[in-house]
Symmetry: C2
Amino acid sequence: MDVPDPAARSPKAEQTRRAIVDAAMRLFRGSGYDRTTMRAIATEAGVSVGNAYYYFGSKEHLVQAFYDQLQTEHADAADRVLAREKTFSARLEGVLASWLDVAAPHHEFAGQFFKNAAEPTSPLSPFSTESAPAREASIALFATLLDGSDAKVAPALRRELPELLWLLQMGMVLFWVYDQSPGQERTRTMVRRIVPIVDRLVKLSRMPVVRGIVDDVVGLMGELRAAP
Amino acid sequence: MDVPDPAARSPKAEQTRRAIVDAAMRLFRGSGYDRTTMRAIATEAGVSVGNAYYYFGSKEHLVQAFYDQLQTEHADAADRVLAREKTFSARLEGVLASWLDVAAPHHEFAGQFFKNAAEPTSPLSPFSTESAPAREASIALFATLLDGSDAKVAPALRRELPELLWLLQMGMVLFWVYDQSPGQERTRTMVRRIVPIVDRLVKLSRMPVVRGIVDDVVGLMGELRAAP
DNA sequence: ACCATTTCTTGAACGTGTTCAAAAGATGGG
DNA sequence: CCCATCTTTTGAACACGTTCAAGAAATGGT
């Protein structure tokens, strides 16, 4: 289960590690997660099964590499969107749509390993401590999205909105995973139509009648964060 | 994989079937889903492994029985709540809280098999065609909750609100599965505080400014339903 | 009573993810 | 150069979910 300290890796070890990750990626992409066996990955990488387990605690851990790569690709694509677009809704739609773009080639694969990420104890779970860095990076992206936009947000909401937008993205991912339409066209439709709604909700958040609810929601989020 | 038609079951077969389900429930409850093996279930039930697979296509299918039982228990508890409470928020909080009550003893077990339910292709997925009856029963429950309450809902929303409340419950279940606080106290807090928010949102739905958004949301839901 | 057909039951076998003791290789101090 | 120690690698073995050919038991028509 234990894995060598990444800081102290000999070049040879690093080479073996990469060979295993690359082989896994190739096979996952070609045959899907379930149909790719650890034996096949080891053979493809030119090592023994046990050696793969020396570097990766489980088959699941091999997916983390894929996960990281996706996150990086999305961050790049999102940066390009944010450099180009200035309005809140264009920025939001661009960021969400670019996630769909980078993830599209992996839809089937993603559906197969989604069950692993869903398990509460899994390190791949978006709520796990292991994925906290990725989660915070993603929330920070939505903060940038917001800061550089023309949106006028109720002050109370400003602090919590990035996390709420991240939750929106999680919802989108959930929808996408279950989306069986060709090219996941339904998810794209959903995004295109939900962004204006969010935009209007944010605008409404400053209205006196609505502000009470906003405060409630913000208060609840604060309490839940403090509790654990 | 094929399983005998439930309509045409001899008493003997039914007895064997029950023995397997009961053994599985006992062991699941005692040792959790993952640590309970099909061999142990078969031994406990006094049959062979192959026989268990004659009645249940997979280990996952054995969970369906647990699932159904939970649903039935919740429906009963919810009925008692709806007979007692008349205001919308009391009914909603009662129904959600009673789900937590009936599910509480199985929190650990539920977390373990949640990953199976999360896989899009799984029959246990709340969005699968196999669980459509359970899903529709649950949505119908929320329709009853609404109809018998004092809530004045915008007409456009009335049709979609039961499904939205069902989605709220799905969100609660998700939160609950990940909730590691003792007795899942955080989820209870979340429910207690989110119900008044929903209540206010529903009231707000009739306001002229908000009505536009409500129409958008309802329109989006209709479109997504029509698409597949 | 007999056979044909269907229903039910068995246990060995397969392929899988994972573990582990042991070996091989690398490193560094004397 | 040699030994001790640490890192890396191996492949056999384990436990599991699942399948399947074969047999046993029930059923029903003649």
